[in-house]
Subunit: 422 residues, 2 copies
């Protein structure tokens, strides 16, 4: 395969690791389940540590459990890291996260094997708990590195069964008491590059094998409660009812309409979690609780939709004689990828004659949090049929190898042109 510095990304070597890694938490229909804190999480960490040591990297586990495997540089410069996460959603696919970690492993392996003398220290990073988990803290590792989670809030965290987060963090080799030491600045980490599956259909539709990511959407989440009046489903006349479920249904459809009315590709919204109480066939629902999620390319758009939603919901609640309440539980701003890294990725792709698209990511990633304090860039490989967060998740070997080569050559270009002192 074409390369720019006589250092070639080995698809075969990557694939051998990928198949072995996919056995960790393997499910019957081709997917994996490696939730944060599970036995499979621990097994995946051990696999990565051994694989990194086998190619001579120095393995470190930081206090939130992030795995850093370092290849020291020849000059006193800030680190350049490549990586992603190794945990998965329940009943997830093999590619989400693992692809970025294992292509990073092969990237460093190829550089080492090719005798490349890196100026900056180079590192593979695999972040702790990127996916939603029982502690309600997704992108936990990268948010901690970015200083976006406080020690106090982490120490207070428990899962739905009351298990303290510290217990899970100690098990993966971290320690919340020292968690402030996990934080990095742009002096420590000069740049971060993440390769990930697209998780949508845009590359497939554009028939491109690669995307350079321009930015990552913001995510706004509301914890909503609708309180009506539980009552007997037979003896309460229709006119006397304050049915929380019907009110919530109308609110959900009004939310959908607000989104559709915008006619935009950089805005989506979902009610993915929903429950009613007391939830019995012959009782009029007394209350409903649900999570409203809005993702958008700008803070303005995200907040405008959130505000429109609340206004419509209040009007519906008033008309139906129920109470509506919404608490903001996440308000994560969109982040642009670094212009210098975007240019390097595009330059390398062009020289390698790989057609690429520019995409704005509607999925959140660890790179969002790296972008909040240092240069961050991302590459996407296509997801077959756009499927992700399910066992059917699939990407093509040929596309992965092209992206891997872009990563190798982009790291070399970054190493040679980035020169901020550490």
């Amino acid at each position: 395969m074409k390369n720019l510095a006589n250092i070639s990304f080995s698809g075969e070597r990557f694939w051998t690791h990928f198949l072995a890694f996919s056995n960790i938490g393997a499910l019957s229909q081709g997917g994996v389940e490696r939730p944060f804190g599970s036995k499979e999480d621990l097994e995946a960490r051990l696999y990565l540590q051994n694989a990194c040591r086998a190619i001579g990297l120095e393995v470190q586990v930081d206090p939130i459990g992030n795995l850093w495997a370092v290849m020291p540089g020849t000059e006193k410069l800030s680190m350049i890291a490549v990586g992603s996460h190794h945990d998965s959603v329940p009943q997830g696919g093999r590619f989400d996260g693992a692809l970025g970690v294992l292509t990073s492993l092969e990237t460093l392996h190829a550089l080492k094997e090719g005798g490349y003398k890196n100026r900056h220290p180079l590192a593979l990073v695999s972040f702790t708990a990127e996916e939603p988990n029982p502690f309600n803290l997704s992108t936990m590792g990268s948010r901690t590195v970015a200083g976006r989670l406080t020690k106090d809030s982490l120490i207070r965290s428990r899962d739905w069964n009351g298990r303290p987060l510290q217990e899970a963090i100690l098990a993966v080799g971290g320690n919340l008491e020292l968690v402030e030491q996990a934080r990095k600045t742009s002096n420590d980490l000069g740049a971060f590059l993440e390769l990930h599956i697209e998780q949508g259909k845009r590359l497939e539709r554009a028939q491109k094998p690669l995307a350079v990511v321009t930015g990552i959407c913001g995510i706004h989440r509301l914890d909503v409660t609708v309180i009506g009046e539980a009552n007997h489903a037979g003896t309460t006349m229709l006119a006397d009812r304050h049915d929380a479920f019907l009110a919530a249904s109308e609110i959900a459809l009004a939310f959908e309409k607000s989104l559709l009315d915008e006619h935009r590709d950089d805005l989506v919204g979902t009610i993915g979690r929903f429950e009613i109480f007391p939830n019995a066939a012959n009782i009029i629902p007394g209350s409903a609780r649900f999570i409203v999620e809005i993702r958008a390319s700008t803070v303005e758009l995200m907040h405008r939709i959130a505000s429109l939603f609340q206004k419509k919901a209040q009007a519906i609640a008033k008309r139906r004689g129920v109470q509506f309440n919404a608490d903001v539980i996440l308000d994560q701003a969109p982040e642009e990828m670094d212009k210098f890294l975007i240019a390097a990725l595009e330059d390398v792709s062009t020289k390698l004659q790989i057609p690429y698209d520019r995409l704005f990511s509607m999925a959140g990633h660890d790179a969002t949090h790296m972008a909040s304090f240092t240069k961050a860039g991302m590459l996407f490989v296509p997801s077959i049929d756009g499927k992700s967060h399910c066992q059917d998740e699939e990407s093509r070997f040929e596309d992965i190898v092209l992206a891997g080569q872009v990563m190798v050559d982009a790291i070399i270009q970054m190493d040679q042109t980035l020169d901020n002192n550490s």
Copy 2:
């Protein structure tokens, strides 16, 4: 208090039992939770058995777990039973079911204490699983007695977690293998009388302390599944979604509109149980499952609304690219109460100078199933503010005592005038 045969219903004795019984499964806001098969269900059964034995009744548990406590008669006649059920809805009130069982206990106690020589065997009955439960079989005990549930269907029944019904039935002292022996005919059971709370506001509005029930509504229940496509809540564009929750919301509102369009007091409908899967904030709901309930005064009206609902739901499902499926899990015809028993209850109330109303019940009751094969009658006491199936459920002591006395005197009148041989 006035009575017709020098046998007085003791409000004090009833109330002592009622307060003790209300402690079983007591909740913090004054209600109770005694779902079928729970520890509280077992505790309630034990309480009733001890209380019945204490006044010399012979306690029998039939193969579906119904509790029969018998006071033998002086002649070979069919049995006259009084009773209701002791289970409750989740977060229910103290009065629903328990009131009928404990007023029946006091009725038999008063007759015994007064030295009344009953011609017919008299019995207290507390039916198994009157309320909706995880096995999707409400009025399970009375339906079995009426021969309306087959042994096969009972043995096949499992709850949503896969637990076989037989396991729960064995735990309450029954046995599905013998369930056909629980069936009764009008030769076994000559009459059944149930005292219950109204669970609506009609008596309160009419300012009457008592109602003689003329009939009980039909109930039709559908177990509905909507299957869409679970996918990533960020990367799946709005136009590509098949969101099972939004489809279900639209279906629910269409159902509500069908009901409201009829402008009738003898028709209601409710979606009281609703769940989505996989139920995670960042995954588009892949499926929804819920129970649709329709109650009406005639079979024709009930079936017309069910058919209209399915037609509308199919159209919505087609438009949204999701699958809709509905299985009928209950189709219970409306039942009229027995004219002879209505006359007896009215005659006694008139003689006791208690003002009463005649009401058609929009709540289902065990009496519905008794009415399908024998003489059945019902009395309602007012529900304060019409509240029921919630912790606020409340009835007035004075009203209960009036109804209790009507029961005592009505049983005496029935015992003396009903003379069908067993």
